[in-house]
């Protein structure tokens, strides 16, 4: 998690797949927000540039020429595995991948690869990470971003936008916003963020947005119970009415045989001292109350 703790507006960032439709647009949006983008990769346009950002044929060339240490990967899902392998081989230590629909066996391979090389991987599918007011990797919407005391850790993009936006309307911004994504196998899991949350100075409270499926919330609860962070943890869980046996939009939001239900997650989180809410309004009101804001 060191690469994550050190991420800032000074971090030198490479955009993989910078010349595609998505890549081009988000390269500009991220740079406008303050992200220090130093390079892009593009097979078709290597040697060229996007608004002065030089494009290279591959990660190794880009890292060699610019000293990039972080990568935001804007390639399609079936190309994500090769792209992350390339970034790891080039010495990148923080990789964020945004593609929805990365096959789970690819993700398993990448999880093991990035761990072996001590690379922090956020994804497979994430809206990204942000240090509000400084820099972002991904496409978290500016309308919901503002500096403040709340760390927002989330599986879902849109539900976190809703929560972040409503908190910002009440004058409560974020210390860090991190989308772990909705995949079953992923680069960084909720529980792995706890040590960072404990030591993160700007963070005064943690809002965790989880959902049905998998065991990530339960793992987070076990880690929190074993090592409390001394900061309030508020949780919003979606998917009470999810249909068993069907992935609800997120590949990881799949229940079968009673595993991964909201009841199991709620029980574990509450036992660990976290507060769990069943509606956005209730979570927002409680969070506002913690900081003396009126919902």
């Amino acid at each position: 998690m060191n690469a994550l703790a050190e991420f800032s507006a000074r971090t030198r960032v490479l955009v993989q797949g910078a010349s595609g439709r998505m890549g081009r647009r988000h390269t500009q949006l991220m740079r406008d927000y303050g992200t220090h983008i130093v390079a892009g990769t593009s097979l078709r346009e290597a040697g060229g540039n996007i608004d002065g950002i030089p494009l290279f044929a591959d990660c190794a060339a880009a890292v060699h020429a610019t000293g990039a240490s972080a990568s935001i990967c804007m390639v399609p899902p079936l190309e994500t595995r090769a792209a992350v392998e390339e970034a790891v081989a080039a010495g990148i230590n923080l990789v964020v991948t945004i593609a929805e629909g990365v096959p789970v066996h690819d993700a398993l391979h990448l999880r093991r690869l990035t761990q072996q090389h001590n690379v922090t991987w956020i994804g497979a599918s994430t809206p990204g990470i942000a240090l509000p007011g400084q820099a972002k990797l991904g496409f978290l919407p500016n309308v919901a971003l503002a500096p403040g005391p709340v760390a927002l850790l989330t599986k879902s993009g849109t539900l976190s936008y809703e929560v972040g936006y409503r908190l910002v309307q009440l004058g409560l911004g974020q210390s860090l916003w991190l989308g772990v994504g909705g995949d079953a196998v992923k680069g960084t899991r909720f529980a792995e963020l706890l040590p960072l949350m404990a030591q993160h100075g700007p963070t005064e409270a943690v809002v965790l947005i989880g959902e049905v499926g998998g065991t990530e919330e339960e793992e987070f609860a076990a880690a929190l119970a074993a090592r409390p962070i001394g900061k309030p943890v508020l949780c919003l869980l979606a998917g009470r009415e999810a249909k068993e046996g069907v992935a609800m939009g997120h590949a990881g939001a799949l229940t079968y045989g009673g595993a991964g239900t909201l009841a199991s997650k709620t029980t574990a989180l509450e036992a660990a001292g976290a507060e769990v809410f069943a509606s956005t309004a209730a979570l927002v009101a409680r969070c506002a109350g913690l900081f003396g804001k009126r919902a």
Binding site: R25, L140, V143, G182, L236, E241, G257, G258, A278
Partner: protein, 367 residues
Amino acid sequence: MLLVEADGKALLRQYGISVPEGQVVRDAAWTAPAAARVVKAQVTVGGRGKAGGVALCRDATETQAALARILGSSIKGHAVHACLVEAPATGRECYLSILLDAGAGAVRVTFIAEGGVEVESHTLDASTSRLCAPDEASINAALAALTDDAAVREVGTKLATLFLREELMLAEINPLFVGPAGAVAGDAKLVLDGNALHRQPGQEALLRGNATLYPDALRKLDEGFDYVELDPKGSIGLITTGAGLSMMLVDELTARGARPINFLDIRTGQLRGSPARLIRVLEWLSEHPSLRVLFVNIFAGITDQREFAKLLAEALAAQPCGGVPVVARLVGNGSEEARAWLAEARPDIAIFEDLEPSIARVAEHAL
């Protein structure tokens, strides 16, 4: 997604694993054989036995009675269109599974020599379950540490090949009948990775061969977005984007006693200037006579709401769903202008900036 047992067994057979003789029956008037049979509902959900979806039948009369009872019934909200009718297998009942353990970031191999169906009551330890790397040699080594039984190890080797080549999330055989003649898979619980379907053409063919059983998965494959039917008799049609926010809306509406027909993650970023995707969804919703209100909720991080509002108006003009009331909550990029434009173009639509009052309005229409 979970394959129904008959399709799971077709895959097992393809990889050389023995399964009992059986056939899929869709018609209760089917002529049953005189010998004993097991009748099992073919639904994409676990826990069939406890929900009344499995019957052990001694003769043709019992088999036909079981078919008449199970076909057309509903198991945990899944309609039963087909039953698998099989010759009962015999032998020691074991449990064998290969699981992609997301939490551990590894493959988990589990073998329990007895106990069969009641596997939930077992506590797994190193004598029954091992984690390993996702390759055939590691999976075989893990299984070898759990059992000496040659028949089980042979099935395990084939199951490992299947698990890796087919990119499964879970391959479970419970019970695995082990007898003098070898090992036979009494059941098959295979969970596919929907994200790998694009490079698994055999799986796609399997799903299409049984299209009524996998409507949600095939819809996603064909349309490129997620629409899941939750309650065909619900009263709210959801036009929403984002999986988490859409799930939360379903939860909050349901908590108020209002029932959404569907879950939807339409992915506004992929509309690319065409109302076609919206029209498709409206067409599906219009097929439900119970539809009483359409609820549009779009939080646009990047998508331009002005463009979305125009596409919404076009889609509603093409498919008005019988003129049911529409509640639209638009927030985010360009939403102020979008709301003003929509208010002028469609004064009948109730337009909101905030979520809570829009939910309240939808509930008023739905209840």
